[in-house]
Amino acid sequence: MLAQIMKYEWRNLQADRMPFAVAAILGLAIAYGAANGSNWVRFQQSNIDAALKEQSTRMSSIRAEMAKLNAGEKKVSAFADPRLPQSFGRNMGLHYVVMPPAPLGSLAVGQSDLQPYYFKVSTNSKETFVNNDEIENPVHLLAGRFDLAFAVLYLFPLVILAFSYNIVSAEKEAGTLALALSQPVGLGRLITAKVVLRAMFVFAVSILISVAGVAAGGAALSAEGALPRLLLWVGVTVLYGAFWFVLAIGMNALGRSSATNAMVLAGVWLLLVVIIPAVLNVAVKAMYPVPSRIELIQAIRVAGEESTREGSKLLARYMEDHPEMAPAGSSGSAPDFGTLLVALNDATERKVRPVLARFDHQLQQQQQFVERFRYVSPAIVAQSAIQDLAGSGTHRYQHFLAQVDAYHRRWRDYFVPRILRKQQLTGSDLDLLPQFTYQQEDNAAVMWRCTQALGSLCVPLILLGVPAMLALRRYRVAG
């Protein structure tokens, strides 16, 4: 009987072209979003490739330069001498740390267009190259590109509501419901058939176009963990969509007119998708204000200047005491400028540390707050899960920053002792430079987080679904 209901329901839908126009718009939006996401991934990848290429050309020319200098064919100032560890490690031989886009990066641009995905690591303090102080709040749902996640999180629910806001009310208004329910069929069964048909259609349009778009955009679907992630993405999308269907059923179960249903459902959409995330964003910033960026920059500058002043005092005293060590303008015999820089960096870092710590602490508080309160809207849960799966979320970025930090330490640990020993670098030292390899995020952890998200998307489904079913039992066709 379900199949028979669906068959005629489909014919009725076909006659009413509006839902198909809406679905076509959704399809186009999804295709456009997927194309945008794929372009973004390609753009990131090409930047990374260019950076790494630049690094390898630079390294070859440094090797050539070193050979010439060693052979005495050329003379340069201390600042331009790659054999000096302070010059190499601080300026000439810098290495890139890069976070390549994740296999399913085209699913969601997320914050990845705001957060740098590559840095040039030097022996200087981390703040000089990680200008990561302007972190946009992860709840900042509205910001960003028109990507697939946007289409899924914003437009997909609207299309679902367009398909289902009057699923019962329209039939009641047209009078067909009375005739249908004078037959031995329950309202629940009738609605099930109608909803399943619509859901199959909307989900098929969304998921097929998304997957096709992402695959056509060159997503590495064969990469490790990519397919399970794609399946989880499908799960998140389906449960998120199911939420909106159940919401529409619940609204219809109240027995109001189609017009009222449309108004209320549009209002709920606005509330859950736009207002709550925005309010959460404002609330989190009000409750855990991050020290202003100006303050941070100021602190870094002041600390830098103070250290530099002390540094020049030190240098002046140093020169007075050891006039024979004054720079002779020849390579290889610079004064212990490198040592001073090491001290200077150290001092600056020490001074900036409390401000940075406060910054980090507040950011962490913000993120914890968001994690705790994201359950107020399924849109936020779905968004963070989708970003997680696409690798453009907070977790993967934190994971990257930790790797940057570790690599920065290795870089320093390599150069600082050489600077202090005034040990010149040779070609074989270059072979032993610390190399950065991006460590993939633990796939199991991502899967677990997203499975939890699936679970928490089920909660509103049940919280809404049970009362909706009860209301449907009391639904009166007349009177």
């Binding site: 009987m1 005739l179 009166r476």
Partner: protein, 233 residues
Amino acid sequence: MLEANQLSKSYNGTTALHPLNLKVEPGEVFCLLGANGAGKTTTINLFLNFIAPSSGMAAVGGMDVVKHPLESKRLLAYIPEQVMLYRNLTGLENLDYFTSLAGGKHTQNELRGFLEEAGLARADADKRVGAYSKGMRQKVGIAIAIAKKARALLLDEPTSGLDPKASNEFSQLLKKLSGDGAAILMATHDLFRAKETGSRCGIMKHGHLVATYATADLGHAELERIYLEHMHD
């Protein structure tokens, strides 16, 4: 077949239907007469379980419609004042859809046969219902009843707005169905049809069934006189 036992309905303190006792046997056509708001539609909606009774019981084929909502509807057919079908489907498709809701499986030819039996012109079966007249839609309603072999029919002012010929055809169909053993409960304003097709008629006023008559005992004029007498307050 249709039985109301102390059946009543009130909405927030206003009584739409005072305890009603009524039996319609197979082959009988019971016409409910009365002004608008007298409780005729309420009675029919109670039999359909579209509204819940405040007290008493409505039974179809001996089954309480509240306790056996689906089973009782297997026996029922309902023809409202306006048989509302899916405008974008043909008469045949509508019939197929609604009979399939009743669990019926019929071939196209059988379905066409039901429509023909209900008096719908052969060519009209494949036209979209949007282009149907009220009378044609009523015929599809009857065809649904024929297809599901309804044992009881609930009709709510089915002939209002039908032209005399269509109305007459409709009466003939009802006679045929009752002749086949269906119990028919029809709310109507049409005293003439009530006399023509009804075996009994009951007059309702302010939620009370105030009188019942066997139509065979009454002439047209007499029925009208009695009806009007009852309508005076």
